[in-house]
């Protein structure tokens, strides 16, 4: 299994500011994903982080709001830009295992926007 370190674990931010969440994996992985879990809800895929190219966003999510970087096969960042209270959620990084048969998750970032 992959060991995923996600930072920060939680943050409280002011409206209009931006927060960058980091995801570090202990091994090279092909596929990395970012999910959002709104309060009391299930997980929704934001985007697939592609190494060396632009991320692939799901319907309802745009690059200007959620820019993603993936400079190498072990690291990715998700930025939540121009935040509003509606962005208060848990954001989770996930990676596919080496055989692409399992998906592992980081411990998540609890974001609260005031």
């Amino acid at each position: 299994s992959a060991v995923i370190s996600q930072k920060p674990s939680r943050d409280i931010c002011q409206r209009g500011t931006s927060l960058t969440i980091q995801c570090q994996v202990d091994s090279q992985v092909t596929m990395m994903f970012w999910y959002r879990q709104q309060p009391g809800q299930s997980l929704t895929l934001i985007a697939t982080a592609n190494q060396g190219s632009e991320a692939t966003y799901e319907s309802g999510f745009v690059i200007d709001k959620f820019p993603i970087s993936r400079p190498n096969l072990t690291f990715s960042t998700l930025t939540v830009s121009n935040m509003s209270p509606e962005d208060s959620s848990i954001y989770l990084c996930s990676v596919a295992g080496t055989t692409n048969e399992k998906l592992f998750f980081g411990s998540g970032t609890q974001l609260s926007v005031l």
């Binding site: 848990i90 996930s94 048969e101 998906l103 998750f105 411990s107 609890q110």
Partner: protein
């Protein structure tokens, strides 16, 4: 499009008893994976069990087992000898050829002493 439905928002069970969580899904793909994830209050998503669609044998992991009915598109999770530490939100999820994980809405399981 893939969909996953969990019809039980909440369930409870007494410690040491057995409980079954239900999940149905829909997909047009012939090859896919099904998962159960556990999310305790720590919010960590923990993989409980995985089932490959092409395997008829039901997956088991210690006290956790599944009843996979491919024709009925049903994938239930049975937890035997329930423990207090099993208290968590449980999510059923489907992973298709596009490598996108589709989650159900979750079932909150409470194990009572």
């Amino acid at each position: 499009a893939q969909t996953v439905t969990q019809s039980q928002p909440e369930m409870s069970v007494q410690e040491a008893e057995t409980v079954t969580l239900s999940c149905t899904y829909d997909t047009s793909e012939s090859n896919y994976y099904l998962f159960w994830y556990k999310q305790p209050p720590s919010r960590q998503m923990i993989l409980v069990i995985r089932q490959e669609a092409y395997k008829q044998q039901n997956a088991t992991e210690n006290r956790f087992s599944v009843n996979f009915q491919k024709a009925a598109k049903s994938f239930s999770l049975k937890i035997s000898d329930s423990q207090l530490g099993d208290t968590a939100m449980y999510f059923c999820a489907l992973w298709g050829s596009n490598y996108k994980l589709t989650f159900g809405k979750g079932t909150l399981l409470t194990v009572n002493p």
